[in-house]
């Protein structure tokens, strides 16, 4: 997993987790607040409904009391009810109907002391029916008010009823009056079309929705209110039970609001996720790019490639790391040079010892033959020709041995494999990357210089050494370092099959002795210098089959001319 991916993966939860926690908290608080307001509203509505029912009960009591006073004063009704005067029976039968309409009631029935209906306002022709449940149970209902199921010719209806007594003579009649509880009544209780009030009875259900338009949405019960109900389903076993007024609302408004909160919460999370990803990408890129570049440079380093430059002006950790890598590379470069020198010296010493041994082996017979011939010439000169002739073969054999030895050692140095490179390209790429210090670089690359038979790395190292020396030769003084290329050998029209690379500076130049020492190994005029630069240059140029010339004089600067073989076919 890349460093960039890790930064991305780390940033997203770091941003998202607090946000989600915060959002969930806000969402929960808002939902609770909204739901609380709804509950409060419904509670207030239920309280109002309860108060309305109480008011209706009080209003019923008032109207029944007035009806009672009127009935007591009505002599025709008294005649019909008490004395059962048949001539007044029709009047009595119609009495409740007239009184009911006058009192603004929807239900009214007058019953005698045996609970027989003698006059009914809502069902005129129901007279003489026994109705024991209401006189018995209504007084036991809380506040004397209860829901009842009244009858009409067209069918039953529900009414909020209460009872009053009507004393006539020695008999006590009862008056049961009520208001119709229908969908309109429930709608008036609900007040708000968004709220429905339903009446749940043991065998029936009545809702305000039938009286209001737009009841298409599904209501949910949010509160309920108990209401006493006289259940007369079984004719002879009426009982007082609890009905329920159910307050319901679609809750769509609440759910819509909560849905909006959820929706914006999701949008905020997604937006934050997007921003955090973009930000994390940018941050990861900003952090990882220098590291990737550093890794790329580091990957280029090996024993043969220690010219990678690490330089950074950054003050952060990556900059410090790059500088440390640069210093490490410098140390590695110096160590490599020393190691190579040690290896070269060790190899040279071993070779020298082998050569010494082999040469000694070859010289020993020669020395012996020559010592013998010298002894003969001194002691027996006459025999010298004869002895020489006898020992001549030994001399020839030794010489042949030495020649063979020389040929064999010559084979130990295999011809280097020739590489090709575009001189101008390598020169431009190399020189432009080199630090010039206070010096000014002048790059004069001739057109069509072409390809040289030299490895690009070798040419690069040649140029690095020469240009570095040129810059250092000017010290702190300003000057110009001119690097130029041209086709052809010696200036003025040398060998045409060569490419010339010239590094020229306007520095302090060198004396002849300084020039001689300059090409010696381990000679350096710079503090901390290794002293291998020009030696390496000469060896690389020589290995490429080229040649190196130097034109210098004290105070006039130096001019290093490198000629390398051109690729055949190059103009």
């Amino acid at each position: 997993m890349t460093f960039r991916t890790r930064i991305l993966l780390a940033t997203v939860p770091v941003v998202l987790v607090p946000l989600v926690v915060f959002g969930l908290g806000v969402r929960r608080a808002m939902r609770q607040q909204i739901a609380g307001q709804y509950r409060g509203r419904m509670t207030a509505l239920v309280d109002l409904i309860g108060q309305d029912l109480e008011r209706q009960g009080s209003l019923l009591a008032t109207r029944l009391a007035r009806l009672r006073e009127t009935a007591v004063q009505d002599n025709r009704f008294r005649l019909a009810a008490v004395t059962r005067d048949t001539s007044q029976r029709g009047y009595a039968l119609d009495y409740a109907g007239t009184a009911m309409r006058t009192a603004g009631l929807d239900m009214l029935q007058i019953q005698d002391d045996s609970a027989r209906i003698i006059s009914s306002g809502h069902f005129r022709n129901e007279f003489d029916r026994l109705e024991r449940g209401l006189p018995q149970l209504l007084p036991t209902a809380p506040n004397g008010v209860a829901l009842v199921q009244a009858r009409t010719p067209e069918g039953p209806f529900f009414a909020l009823a209460r009872l009053d007594s009507l004393p006539l003579g020695s008999r006590r009649f009862t008056i049961v009056g009520g208001f119709a509880v229908d969908s309109g009544f429930l709608a008036r209780l609900a007040r708000d079309s968004a709220v429905s009030v339903s009446l749940s009875l043991p065998h029936a259900m009545l809702s305000s929705r039938a009286a209001t338009a737009g009841g298409g949405s599904r209501d949910e019960v949010v509160s309920e209110l108990p209401v006493p109900f006289i259940d007369e389903t079984q004719p002879d076993s009426a009982r007082l039970v609890q009905a329920r007024l159910l307050v319901a609302t679609p809750l769509t408004g609440l759910r819509d609001l909560q849905g909006t909160v959820d929706q914006w919460f999701v949008i905020a999370v997604l937006a934050t996720l997007l921003v955090s990803v973009v930000l994390a990408s940018w941050l990861a890129s900003r952090l990882s790019r220098p590291l990737a570049e550093l890794a790329g440079k580091t990957a280029e380093i090996n024993m043969d490639r220690l010219d990678v430059e690490f330089g950074s002006d950054g003050t952060d950790e990556v900059g410090a790391l790059e500088r440390l890598l640069g210093q490490m590379t410098e140390r590695l470069r110096a160590g490599t040079v020393r190691l190579r020198e040690v290896e070269r010296r060790a190899a040279t010493g071993e070779l020298a010892r082998q050569v010494n041994h082999d040469v000694k082996n070859g010289l020993a017979p020669l020395r012996n033959v020559l010592r013998h011939l010298a002894q003969i010439a001194r002691d027996r000169p006459a025999e010298l020709p004869k002895v020489f002739a006898e020992r001549r073969q030994a001399l020839v054999s030794s010489l042949n041995y030495l020649e063979s030895l020389a040929a064999n050692y010559a084979k130990l140095s295999p011809p280097p494999e020739t590489q090709r490179c575009d001189v101008n390209t390598v020169t431009r790429e190399t020189v432009e990357q080199l630090p010039m210090g206070a010096a000014e670089l002048s790059l004069e690359l001739a057109d069509g210089v072409g390809t040289a038979k030299i490895d690009a790395i070798a040419l690069r190292r040649i140029l690095e050494n020469l240009v570095s020396n040129a810059v250092e030769a000017m010290g702190d003084q300003s000057g110009v370092v001119t690097v130029s290329t041209a086709h052809g050998g010696d200036e003025g029209g040398g060998a045409s099959n060569a490419i010339r690379v010239v590094v020229e500076d306007t520095g302090k130049g060198m004396t002849e002795s300084e020039l001689e020492r300059a090409f010696q190994d381990f000679h350096s005029t710079k503090p901390g210098g290794v002293g291998l630069g020009l030696s390496i240059v000469r060896r690389l140029v020589t290995d490429a089959g080229g040649r190196l010339r130097v034109e210098t004089s004290p105070g006039a600067g130096s001019r290093f001319i490198v000629e390398v073989p051109a690729e055949e076919g190059t103009a």
């Binding site: 029709g90 039968l93 069902f123 005129r124 022709n125 129901e126 007279f127 010719p153 067209e154 069918g155």
Partner: protein, 399 residues
Amino acid sequence: MLETDSTPTPERLTIGVAGIVDPAHAPVPTNDAERFVFRQVFETLVRLDCAGVVRPGLAESWQVDDDGRQWTFTIRSDARFSDGTPATGQGIADSWTRRVGPLPGGTPVFTISGRELTVRLSQPVTARLFAAPGLAVTRPVEGSDWPVGTGAYAADTSGGRVTVAPFGATGRPVLVLRPSGGGDERDLLDAGIDLLVTDDPSALGYARSRPEFTMVALPWERRYVLAVPGGSVSLDSTVLVGLARDALRVEARPSSGIPWWADPGAVACGVAPPPGAPPLGVGTSIVALVYPAEDAVARDLAGRLVALGIGGAPRALGLAAPDFSAALSSGGATGYVLPLPAVTLEACGALRLLIARVPWLADDAARHLTPLVESRRRAIVRRGGAAFTVEWDGTLRVR
């Protein structure tokens, strides 16, 4: 006969009747207003008085031969249509031929001789048949909505108001109709109405308290029955008395006697259900005691029957006239409170019309129909007004 004080006849009488007069219905009425107007404008050969006695009408006399198959009427000498043309035997024959199909006694064959019109039938009939409104004599007039009749009046409905004016120098008053019903009929009395036929106890009580009005009971004209498609219901006399006395606010009495649909003669006339009549119980899912919503008597009867649990119907259901007719025809309800005429001129024809309206009665009308009560109305007449004749069906005719 209804005759008030012998003061001079006023020039104009305002009559309160329910319903809208449509000349297209002439001469067969469909409501009280048409019945009153048509009875003034059109005449039948004979008429029945309130006691059911046959009286001269367009014919001043008549003879019956061949056991009731041949009837010879002598047309009144002064009989004229309201446009002045004489009403002849040919005119009567033309009127019947134009409008009336076969009579209950068969297709009539006319013989005309001067003022005598002989009607020959294949079956014997009674003289009551010739008092039927359908046999009133009319003659269409080109360019007029109203046909002309031979009565003392001619009707005019131009201007949206019904005016029945006498023609000729008869000294009869002009009759102006004012619709009643739907509102408080006491307002009509206060507005100066001269004749009001009603059963509204409030209006009757109010008129009783007003000395300028007198009241006359009209014949028992309507009989309410309980029609049960699935069978029959038997009610004892106590229930019937209770219905008439307590359940209704109009003048009523328990139904008595043999109703016309149970008349052996009517039953024997051989009615059969019309082809294509729907089977019993098909066409509606109403399970209730159904009554015509506009009929207060039927409503009270239905309510009381429901209260008593008679017929097993859980509730009463009032239906407007078209819906009631459809429901009655289908027979899908538990029962029907049905108003029928208390009397009819020709029981067999009336039963045939009833079965056409209620096909499921065809198997045995008497079994499915239980008589409940009979009701009647009263005429409230302003004293000092015109004299009226009460006819067999309770219709008043200005003398």
